[in-house]
């Protein structure tokens, strides 16, 4: 590194810059942005940006958490529906049992963390693939959400959080807006950035981060050198559940009502964002920033198609094409970067 080594080829500065694995995802995002910016003026306006950053932020929080979990070699299919559970618990407790909003949220947090802990515990104890375990959790939570909501309210949605005690204060923190350049940006964007920064710190600069990479890369080898693999995995499931709580709360506070089916189907969007951002499905490799950028790519493609005004019938077609484009750009840049180093 310091001394020149005849076994290393000379590399330019520009190429060196491309070495960071996140850069592939960033380039993918730029491609998608450039594409839609060319299609629609609104898309590239401040308002437009505020618009597509909004869904990207909540998706991003989850994608980052799921990315950590996937780097650790596991899946969580129950994360999406858990956001719904959190919202339902919060709204039901705050409106039907008259708890202050913050108390209801704390109760929901406890529920979420418990679900995450159980997921992790069952996975490490039974040795079943987390795909199956969290699928079962997913199905069971979905049933609970619907069954309990129906039993309590007779319909499949609960609402009225707006009238609950302490609503406005909590809302400002989690679901408010911040005016920037005359446009309201969602405060969730800040949460998303914070979560990404924290996850990046943990992943690259702490012992826990080292353990996460190790258990995802080769669990047996990691255990053999003394990594507490079970604890690491359980902690990852709990972290994911914590993220689901954050997102579920943000959504509940913002929309003040929650449907029993809320969050169903989102679990795959999280995984998709993480994979677009460069996480390996087999574990052991990926980055939090990549997942956050993956969420932006997904959010841009998702909203860009609407801004471009293309026929809604063909929506998924374009979405698929954009995702392929973005990941190809990512891959292309990474290949190029790999020619520079390693």
């Amino acid at each position: 590194m310091t001394v020149a080594d005849e076994r290393l080829a000379a590399t330019g500065v520009a190429r060196r810059l491309l070495i960071r694995p996140e850069l592939g995802a960033v380039v993918g995002a730029l491609v998608v942005f450039a594409f839609f910016a060319g299609q629609s003026e609104v898309f590239r306006s401040v308002e437009g940006v505020a618009n597509w950053l909004d869904p990207a932020s909540t998706l991003g929080i989850m994608a980052v958490a799921i990315a950590l979990l996937m780097i650790g070699g596991e899946f969580d299919l129950s994360a999406g529906v858990l956001t719904g559970t959190v919202g339902l618990v919060t709204v039901i407790l705050a409106t039907r049992y008259d708890l202050p909003v913050w108390a209801a949220m704390l109760a929901a947090l406890a529920v979420a963390l418990l679900v995450g802990f159980l997921n992790g515990l069952v996975v490490v104890r039974t040795g079943l693939p987390s795909f199956i375990v969290t699928l079962a959790t997913f199905l069971m939570l979905q049933g609970v959400n619907l069954g309990v909501t129906k039993a309590l309210t007779g319909t499949v949605q609960v609402g009225g959080l707006r009238r609950a005690e302490g609503y406005e204060e909590v809302r400002a923190v989690l679901a408010g807006t911040i005016p920037v350049g005359g446009t309201d940006f969602r405060v969730a964007i800040l949460w998303w950035l914070a979560v990404t920064a924290l996850a990046t710190w943990v992943l690259t600069r702490t012992r826990a981060g080292n353990w996460i990479f190790a258990v995802g890369g080769d669990e047996r080898a990691a255990r053999a050198v003394g990594v507490p693999a079970e604890r690491t995995k359980i902690a990852l499931f709990v972290t994911t559940a914590g993220a689901a709580w954050l997102v579920g709360s943000i959504m509940a506070l913002r929309f003040t009502s929650v449907q029993a089916g809320s969050g169903v189907g989102q679990e795959f969007v999280y995984i998709i964002a993480a994979v677009i951002g460069g996480c390996l499905l087999t574990g052991g490799h990926g980055s939090a920033i990549g997942a956050a950028v993956g969420a932006v790519i997904f959010g841009m493609a998702d909203k860009g198609i609407v801004f471009a005004g293309w026929d809604a019938d063909w929506f998924t077609f374009f979405l698929g094409a954009m995702l392929l484009l973005a990941t190809l750009a990512n891959r292309f840049v990474r290949r190029y970067a790999e020619e520079v180093k390693r």
Partner: protein, 294 residues
């Protein structure tokens, strides 16, 4: 040479660092190890020798906490121990180089090196992995083994076989506080690096560590070993002190008898390339690893 060459209870009064008594291990229907006893004493090198599949790796995995023995007992410092995981063994200062559970291929050299024992800086929520310190340490440790790594950020999976093994050894030497367990550590190493490893073993022994050393190379085992445990098809053939066994006997035991004598003749031929170093020339070992001629 018979079983009576086995070591009798010595005069040392301190309990051995590690001791297994009549341990056995089965994997499903496979009996990998049966009734094997062994002691690891401070300041001694215990060699475990045996044919392929004899159960050597299984034995050291029991010592290092990877496997729990199915039968028999395991004592650390004379007290019964039940390691739930290799973490427990590490916490007792037992560091291991595994034959097959080595490294995480996708992780960089320095991350692998400190895996499970990361050095930290700062405190509280600011406690963080000392990255620059870690990188520097790794580079130094490897250089002193004769491995000049290009870039400690390189994923371990792209290292050469010997480089990879060197990282594992350097790690064990770095973290081994009381016992060092090495499962065929020199198998992929160059001549120079293998020499360095043997020197490490001698240094560790001299510092009072207990060393368990597994090898198929009698030239490596004899000079450094103090005791030799011989395994065959999962069972023990006895434990010998160096004083009780000659290098020839050891080699012959490892090779499973004298049947290899003829190999030297088979390898030789009257081809055009036959030169000064053909087998039979004095000073050159006639057969590979079958030891010196009588």
């Amino acid at each position: 040479m018979t079983g009576d060459g086995a070591v009798t209870e010595g005069g040392t009064d301190a309990p051995p660092l590690l001791e297994v008594r009549d341990v056995g291990k089965t994997f499903g229907g496979v009996i990998a190890l049966r009734d094997v006893s062994m002691r690891v004493r401070a300041g001694e090198v215990s060699c475990v020798l045996g044919d392929n599949g004899a159960g050597k790796s299984t034995l050291i995995k029991i010592l290092s906490g990877v496997h729990a023995p199915d039968s028999g007992s395991y004592l650390v410092d004379g007290a019964p121990a039940a390691f739930a995981s290799p973490r427990d063994a590490l916490d007792k200062g037992i560091a291991t180089v595994y034959q097959d559970l080595a490294m995480i291929p996708l992780m960089s050299v320095w991350r692998n090196f400190f895996l499970g024992s990361e050095p930290v800086l700062g405190r509280g929520p600011l406690r963080r992995f000392d990255v620059t310190g870690a990188k520097r340490t790794v580079r130094e440790e490897l250089r002193s083994m004769g491995i000049d790594i290009r870039d400690v950020d390189q994923p371990v999976g792209t290292l050469s076989g010997g480089e990879r093994q060197s990282v594992a050894i350097a790690r064990a030497v770095h973290f081994g506080a009381r016992v060092l367990i090495l499962d065929e550590p020199t198998s992929a190493l160059g001549v120079k690096q293998a020499g360095v490893v043997l020197r490490y073993v001698a240094q560790a022994r001299d510092r009072g560590l207990g060393v368990v050393f597994i090898t198929h190379n009698p030239h490596h085992a004899y000079p450094i070993g103090d005791r030799f445990l011989l395994l065959n098809r999962g069972a023990s053939l006895g434990e010998y002190a160096k004083a009780d066994i000659t290098p020839e006997e050891l080699t012959s035991l490892m090779a499973g008898g004298a049947e290899l004598e003829q190999l030297a003749h088979e390898l030789s031929r009257g081809g055009p390339a036959a030169g000064p170093g053909t087998p039979g020339t004095p000073g050159t070992p006639e057969t590979p690893e079958t030891g010196p001629p009588p």
